[in-house]
Amino acid sequence: MEPREPENDDAVVRKLRERSPQAVSEVLEFRGERTLVIPAAHLLTTAEFLCSDAELQFSFLSDITAVDHFPIEPRFDLNYHLLSLTRRERLRLKVRVAGGDPVIPSVVNVWPAANWHEREIFDLFGVRFEGHPELSRILMPDDWEGHPLRKDYPVEGYR
């Protein structure tokens, strides 16, 4: 992915940087898709702003996914796929989380749709979401050991 720095050439990045200069640490562009790398500390305020801003209106959360880069640190990438129905625009937010004790603020209060997505990531990757109303396993049984989508979890499972 080619970093596209540092000109603030689109409205979203400009608006975010106007509010707080550190809000966007990197802008990536690949195959016409725009990714904003957000420091974890800025995630909640950025999410609230993008969702509620009258001009941007990224009120539709399509998806949240995690990617495990084990053994590279920071180990996890969290990708938030946003959609603005008024601007007909997609946007990806990326937050990097270290592997030791992965914790990140929950965005359930911004987009209620995040509830099950975050539970799924907690279940399959073991990333915890602070402030989530009921963070429990969703696909695997409650007494399952390990987080299957982590790269150090064997495809055949532990035997």
Binding site: S62, L124, P141
Partner: protein, 399 residues
């Protein structure tokens, strides 16, 4: 997935009822834990995971082409939509352009898939609510569609017909005539379903005003597809972010504003007619001759004849099917409008021949989150209507 039923503390007059996972109206293995006050639902909690097969983990151990058969099994009522979405995602990652003929055939078949999936929905939804006969009629038409899929791809359900860079094989002679014959009778068949349901007093009583979802709630919960359009939001991926040449087709996006089960029924029936419109245009557009695969040596297998006659063709064939092909490192998200809503594939590549991560944004999984909002405060009998109306496929919910 929680396998126990908790008792509710401090609420003497409510009882907890466990519905599913083995229950005919849950369309698979959905379990809903209901807290009831008399016949009123106080609280509903869907419990999923009974059909989790770890498809996303399996993808990471397969080459890019080997993932395609797995995508069939995610939403088994609309396998071609899944094939299409995954292939488009990988093609986007590779920067491949697919020949127009293949694009039109893809549109043709995915729209037939939408009709077939909506037919299953209208039949099973009606049977859930006590209207037996619609099921028999809608499955009659679905059978013809299954035969068309078999004719084109060799498989009734798990088609795997779309491949990275185009199609698996040249469609057989006469396939367009057969689809045309289906189109000739199908409008009268839609009329039959409508005669049985649309003005039926019992049907209206069971669906009107039931499971109401406001537009704000639908967006907040990420609901997409006919369930969102029944609440008055005209979001359709085919119109917003056209793919596979959908911008060249003329069709409307049916929208209803009531937001209840009846509105979603009307949207889906209208979509049957719109899909038919698209199929008719596709039949006109598809050129009789032309390549069905893009020319990308090392990524797309060469034509059979070339593989048999030229040494380069044989080498490429051998390499593609033994070791796959490498992709540029990067991440892409591709969405299509599946019969259930926005189906998305997120594919992350680390530059090797196997995907680093494949994530399926399953519309059923997301739409199911809104179920408590639909049923809470309503009668127990309405739960059946509400599960049916969001049109979930558990294979897709649990993956």
């Amino acid at each position: 997935m929680t396998t126990t039923v908790e008792t509710v503390t401090g609420a003497a007059e409510t009882m907890v009822l466990n519905m599913g996972p083995q229950h005919p109206s849950t369309h698979g293995v959905l379990r809903v834990v209901l807290e009831l006050n008399g016949e009123r639902v106080v609280k509903a909690r869907p419990v999923i995971g009974y059909l989790h097969t770890g498809i996303e983990k399996t993808c990471e151990a397969k080459t890019y082409s080997q993932v395609i058969p797995l995508t069939d099994r995610i939403d088994y009522l609309a396998p071609l939509s899944n094939n299409l979405c995954y292939c488009l995602a990988v093609e986007k990652l590779l920067g491949l352009e697919v020949p127009k003929r293949a694009q039109y055939i893809r549109v043709l078949l995915t729209e037939l898939t939408r009709i077939s999936s909506h037919l299953v929905w209208v039949g099973t939804h009606a049977i859930d609510l006590g209207a037996m006969s619609v099921f028999l009629y809608s499955f009659r038409e679905r059978e013809e569609l299954q035969k068309i899929f078999e004719m084109v791809s060799g498989q009734r359900m798990m088609t795997s017909y779309f491949r990275i860079g185009g199609l698996a094989l040249e469609p057989p002679p006469g396939y367009l005539d057969r689809i045309q014959r289906f189109l000739d009778v199908f409008p009268s068949r839609i009329q039959e379903y409508e005669d049985l349901l649309t003005k039926n007093r019992i049907w209206m009583g069971r669906t009107q005003g039931v499971g109401t979802l406001s537009a704000e709630d639908a967006i907040a919960f990420g609901v997409s597809g006919p369930s969102l359009r029944g609440s008055g939001v005209a979001y359709d991926v085919r119109k917003f972010f056209p793919y596979s040449s959908y911008e060249e087709f003329d069709f409307d996006v049916p929208v209803q504003t009531a937001g209840d089960c009846y509105a979603r029924y009307l949207v889906r029936v209208a979509e049957l007619r719109e899909s038919m419109k698209i199929v008719r245009q596709a039949i006109e557009k598809i050129p009789a001759e032309g390549p069905i695969r893009t020319n990308a040596p090392g990524i797309v297998p060469p034509p059979r004849e070339e593989m048999k006659t030229s040494i380069e063709g044989l080498i490429y064939h051998f390499k593609i099917f033994t070791e796959g092909f490498a992709t540029p490192p990067g991440e892409v998200y591709q969405a299509v409008e599946s019969p259930r809503g926005e189906l998305g594939f997120f594919v992350a590549s680390d530059g090797s021949a196997k995907p680093h991560r494949v994530k399926v944004r399953a519309p059923s999984f997301v739409n199911l989150q809104a179920l408590p909002r639909l049923v809470e405060g309503r009668l127990l009998a309405d739960v059946v209507a509400c599960i049916g109306t969001i049109d979930i496929v558990l294979g897709e919910v649990d993956r």
